[in-house]
């Protein structure tokens, strides 16, 4: 288990804006994804854990060991931290064969154990036949496996992966996901994985930290985040969300409901915390949570159909006001004619709306 809270400031310089990392992390066995845009402090967090960057304040604990503590001045060297760091460009030593690369990491082991461990690790990562090759003679996927094998050979207590899927094609990426899934079950230690690829995030994560400008804006399991991304930036990053802006028309705490004004039409909304009548708030929803109707009714808003996009399993209909709805293909056949004749309504169930912060409504 890793626990820590660190801050690190970079003063603004003439050519760069200042930056401050201020995060609190806690990760147990399993894959924790640090997800966010470039420059939000994800890799810096890994570097603080691995000992490549020194935080200004805070402390980092790995299991029961203190890796860093600003107050007592503890700052273990990278060599003492037992972190298996897998670098973005693999960082396999180019002047050593794969076997030598692995042996370099197993230097401290007794000779016999080193041999056993090397053979075992090469076998496990399907690298035995390639052991005599130099990194430039290996494919991207093989280098990837090699660097993970090297990071794991001396039994680290945590694995840090910096954008492992970057630069790999779709097939190799799937192999990588399978590999990490296998590792996860066998390792029983925290794996921190940095990525800005939503596919990678949802394929691997047990838990997600969403980074935004040096802070963790939101955290949760992938399912929780898909339900509620928390902030508009996170919603945009994760993709597939529709962000709406509405005015609070009424609040009914007793019934745990609210009334919202969406472009002048009133609908029933979810329970809202910390809001007053007249506030403008941001909400998010997903295309599969909305319904297309051709007659008015409760919680239905009148909209114009802007365009439709055909997808393999469904039709994505985009309406005025930024509403996007996914409709099963067969259903769309029936709806289309009626809609053209009578007009379109979009039904927004109160359960499909979640309040988020920091909205910048999209312009349509």
């Amino acid at each position: 288990m890793i626990r820590g809270r660190v801050t690190k400031r970079f003063a603004a310089a003439p050519e760069s804006a200042g930056f401050q990392l201020d995060v609190e992390i806690e990760a147990h066995a399993g894959v924790t994804v640090l997800y966010g845009p470039s420059g939000s402090g994800k890799t810096l967090t890994l570097d603080c854990i691995a000992g490549f960057a020194r935080p200004d304040t805070g402390r980092i604990l790995l299991d029961d060991r203190i890796l860093f503590d600003a107050e007592s001045g503890v700052n273990l060297r990278p060599q003492q931290r037992s972190c298996g760091y897998v670098f973005q460009n693999y960082a396999l030593f180019p002047h050593m064969t794969l076997r030598e690369n692995l042996a370099f990491a197993a230097y401290d082991m007794p000779r016999l154990e080193r041999h056993r461990r090397l053979a075992e690790q090469l076998e496990r990562f399907k690298l035995t036949e390639l052991a005599g090759r130099y990194p430039h003679e290996l494919s991207g996927g093989q280098k990837q496996r090699g660097s993970i094998a090297r990071a794991l050979i001396s039994n680290p207590r945590i694995v840090l992966l910096d954008e492992p899927g970057r630069g790999l094609d779709a097939e190799l990426r799937t192999d990588l996901y399978t590999l990490i899934e296998e590792l996860k079950s066998g390792l029983g230690m925290p794996v921190l994985l940095v990525t800005h690829d939503p596919e990678e995030c949802f394929a691997l994560a047990d838990h997600v930290f969403i980074y935004e400008g040096g802070r963790i804006a939101h955290r949760g399991s992938p399912d929780e985040l898909l339900r509620n991304p928390g902030t508009s930036t996170a919603a945009e990053l994760l993709g597939g969300f529709t962000i709406l802006e509405a005015e609070v028309a009424a609040i009914d705490p007793a019934k745990q409901t609210s009334r919202l004004l969406l472009d002048g039409e009133e609908i029933q909304g979810p329970h809202l915390r910390g809001c007053f009548k007249g506030d403008r708030i941001a909400l998010c929803t997903r295309p599969e949570e909305l319904f297309v109707r051709t007659v008015p009714g409760a919680n239905r808003v009148r909209r114009d159909l802007r365009r439709t996009l055909a997808r393999p399993q469904f039709i994505r209909a985009e309406f005025s006001g930024g509403l996007v709805v996914d409709v099963p293909r067969e259903e769309w056949q029936l709806l289309r004619e009626a809609g053209q004749r009578c007009g379109w309504w979009v039904e927004i169930p109160a359960t499909g709306l979640r309040q988020i912060t920091g909205a910048r409504p999209k312009a349509y």
């Binding site: 691995a50 060599q79 973005q88 460009n89 401290d108």
Partner: protein, 221 residues
């Protein structure tokens, strides 16, 4: 009259020894300058470059003061080895090394700084000591430019005149290096000796420079 080849052999020996000494200090200095942050780093950096910029006679004068017979280094040397330091071939080695070190430090430092820091981070996080990192990762990765710098340092040591003249003198058969012999021969109007030595030195130096350039360009290819 046959040509006395002693000055040429002396020059090669002096250059070889000077290069070996500068490798020892130079690479270490280069690594310190490339990797460590400490107070006075700028001053150390400037000091290493100084021998390149100072007039050779000025450098020679300082050396006379520092290692001359009346200095404590000179006296200590005499006490331990029973011989003088100045006006021997050893002084020529010191003069040559002082010129070789800046060249070696400058190029090696650039080469070491060019090594992708990811490799160094990887080595550290895999548990490698700084010593093992240096020998097994940094130096092998920078070996071509460092070898090229060493070759150039050797070429530079081969041809030192001013400083060597000041502190090793011009004793034929003892401290007369090729560069000084050429000067003497030209002064004495002995064109055959001057031309022969000059051509030999030129060929050796040109070969070294060619070799050094090839080392560097192949790295980039």
């Amino acid at each position: 009259m046959g040509i006395d080849w002693f000055p040429l052999w002396l020059s090669l020996e002096v250059a070889a020894l000077a290069t070996a000494i500068s490798l020892l200090f130079g690479i270490w200095l280069a690594w310190v300058l490339a990797n460590k942050q400490f107070r006075g780093k700028d001053i150390l950096d400037a000091l290493t470059t100084l021998p390149l910029a100072l007039p050779p006679t000025v450098l020679g004068y300082y050396l006379l003061v520092v290692i001359g017979r009346s200095s404590w280094i000179g006296r200590a040397w005499e006490k331990i080895t029973g011989t003088e330091l100045v006006f021997t071939w050893r002084a020529a080695v010191i003069a040559a090394a002082l010129h070789a070190i800046p060249l070696l430090v400058k190029s090696s430092r650039a080469a070491l700084e060019n090594v992708d820091s990811a490799y160094e981070r990887a080595a550290r996080s895999l548990g490698a000591s700084e010593w093992r990192l240096f020998w097994r990762v940094s130096i092998p990765l920078a070996r071509r430019p460092v070898a090229a710098a060493t070759a150039l340092a050797f070429a530079r040591s081969l041809g030192d005149f001013g400083t060597t003249f000041m502190i090793a003198g011009d004793i034929p058969g003892r401290t007369q290096t090729a560069a000084i012999a050429i000067y003497d021969a030209a002064e004495a109007n002995n064109t055959r000796v001057a031309a022969t030595l000059a051509i030999v030195i030129s060929v050796v130096t040109a070969a070294i420079v060619y070799f050094a350039n090839r080392l560097e360009t192949r790295k980039r290819a």
